[in-house]
């Protein structure tokens, strides 16, 4: 890999914490037992590692360890939660409520359920990226089985009002599922206080290994799911397949580390985000933060740099590993559907960068990144016909553009 790279894409994935890896290694070579082998010491060792990891995962969301089902990641957890509940209860209740800014794996699963005869309400969001609780109230019907609203949005970092959503669901005996892939370890979560019935977790978004996640499934009042993977009946019959003790231990340790240092880490990241924003905003006019400025995780800054196209900008800062809402590289050439749902104009959506700050980000990196972005934006604005028009007082939206 090239030198001098600065990784600022913590929403895409996080590096595995070396302390996590250290705990995992023994379960790959020495303690290689199958945790489902019930009749020898290798199996017992592996099983006890898995069970203590399950407790560690449960603890970070204030659940019981029996309520944690290990999966391959948040995509599988979301699939299991939605399809599993829909298939189990579908003959009685056939309506699901979700939101337009959910991750593709929730939206695509909902589309799949629509084809199977379910009806789905896709709640809109306000300009700040948050759902409207009144609109949610109106969306409930007698048929509503489940509400699925993500805890923290992957693109813009906003935190949805989980507690309020949970209360509304509980009053109506509707299950509440939340995709918490971007939230676990970053904000305090309590499935009991928040009335969450199903919660999806991903290890690699919280300094654990890729390839493992979990689904919290409430036992009281009980949520039942139809298994999506059949086999030996592991994970209370909800998810068959041999568990990887190394991966389970990795997720467990990632939870322990995140929980221990959550407030300190969050304060540090908040400070870095503040430094970064201050530097950028002081140097550059017409930069906009996407998503609510208060109800958000500090490590996600989604910024639109007016009149500079995001992918072009990324090319100018090629040692900064960030992500763009422009998606000019994708086959569709459509800008981010999340930003569009916020009412961000297509033009501004094309100019956005997502800067992700995390556990291993250094202050110097933040300062260097801000400087490089400022230089690049200035250079590209000098080259941008839109910037030239804006400076000349021409309203770009008044021009009759031919779309292509």
């Amino acid at each position: 890999m090239a030198k001098n790279l600065i990784y600022l894409d913590y929403q895409a994935t996080t590096p595995c914490d070396p302390r996590v890896l250290e705990k995992m290694i023994p379960y790959l070579c020495e303690k290689y037992g199958n945790p489902h082998s019930r009749n020898h010491a290798f199996g017992w060792d592996a099983e006890s590692a898995v069970e203590s990891a399950r407790q560690q995962v449960a603890k970070i969301i204030n659940a019981e360890s029996k309520e944690i089902i290990f999966t391959s990641g948040a995509t599988e957890s979301n699939n299991l939660a939605l399809k599993g509940a829909a298939e189990f209860y579908g003959d009685k209740k056939k309506h699901i409520i979700t939101c337009v800014t959910e991750h593709k794996c929730v939206l695509d699963t909902c589309r799949h359920l629509e084809q199977k005869g379910f009806s789905v309400t896709y709640l809109p969001v306000h300009k700040n990226g948050l759902i409207d609780l009144e609109t949610l109230k109106e969306a409930f019907t007698e048929e509503t089985l489940l509400v699925s609203i993500m805890a923290v949005n992957n693109e813009i970092g906003v935190i949805q009002p989980l507690r309020e959503i949970g209360a509304l669901c509980r009053e109506r005996n509707v299950f509440f599922h939340t995709d918490a892939a971007q939230a676990v370890g970053k904000i305090p979560l309590d499935v009991n206080e928040m009335n969450i019935d199903l919660l999806s977790i991903s290890a690699h978004k919280m300094y654990g290994p890729m390839g493992i996640g979990a689904l919290y499934v409430r036992r009281n009042p009980r949520v039942r799911l139809k298994a999506q993977i059949n086999g030996g009946g592991q994970e209370r019959g909800m998810r068959s397949g041999t568990l990887s003790p190394a991966l389970c231990v990795g997720l467990g340790e990632a939870c322990v580390l995140s929980q221990e240092k959550m407030s300190q880490e969050s304060a540090r990241i908040r400070y870095y985000a503040h430094l970064f924003c201050k530097k950028i905003m002081e140097a550059l006019p017409e930069v906009y933060l996407n998503g609510d400025k208060d109800s958000r995780v500090p490590g996600n800054l989604n910024l639109s740099f007016a009149h500079v196209e995001g992918e072009g900008l990324m090319m100018a800062i090629k040692n900064l590993c960030v992500s763009s809402g422009s998606a000019c590289t994708s086959a569709s050439l459509e800008p981010s559907y999340v930003l569009r749902a916020l009412g961000v104009s297509e033009e501004l959506a094309h100019t956005s960068l997502r800067i992700g700050i995390g556990r291993f980000t250094k202050k110097e990196e933040i300062e260097l990144a801000a400087d490089q972005i400022i230089t690049a934006v200035n250079k590209l604005r000098d080259m941008s016909p839109l910037w030239e028009m804006a400076q000349a007082g021409i309203d770009v939206s008044s021009i009759d553009w031919a779309s292509h």
Partner: protein, 127 residues
């Protein structure tokens, strides 16, 4: 996605960035694309009395391939007659920059920009 060397060269050292006064009689301006699609090109040509393009400048809002396509075009059309410049095809640009299929629309836009600039100049002259 890794970029082709030529794209990177034109992106990092863009040729002929800038603007001419568009009201000048011997300047033709083409403005194509749309902000909502993520790319806008402004291409300007300066034409002498013999109908030769003596200078060209561009400004582009877009990805690296869009910037490289417009930069390349300014190089290609300088010293050409209007007719020669007008016969440049998007495939010439795409092939020269080795653009992948998903980026071919950048070269289409560059071809459109040449034509729009020529048309603008010819309309001015006809007046």
């Amino acid at each position: 996605m890794a970029y082709n060397k030529k794209v990177i060269d034109h992106y990092e050292n863009p040729r002929n960035v800038g603007s001419f006064e568009s009201s000048e009689k011997n300047v033709g301006t083409g403005l194509v694309g749309a902000p909502s699609c993520g790319d806008v090109m402004k291409l300007q040509i300066k034409v002498d009395s013999q109908g030769l393009i003596i200078d060209a400048k561009f400004k582009t809002f877009g990805c690296g391939s869009a910037i490289a396509s417009s930069s390349l075009v300014t190089e290609k059309i300088k010293g050409k007659t209007l007719q020669e410049a007008g016969s440049i095809r998007n495939s010439d640009i795409a092939n020269e920059l080795d653009l992948p299929p998903v980026k071919r629309h950048c070269s289409v836009l560059a071809e459109d920009a040449i034509r729009a600039a020529i048309r603008d100049y010819q309309e001015k002259i006809a007046k």
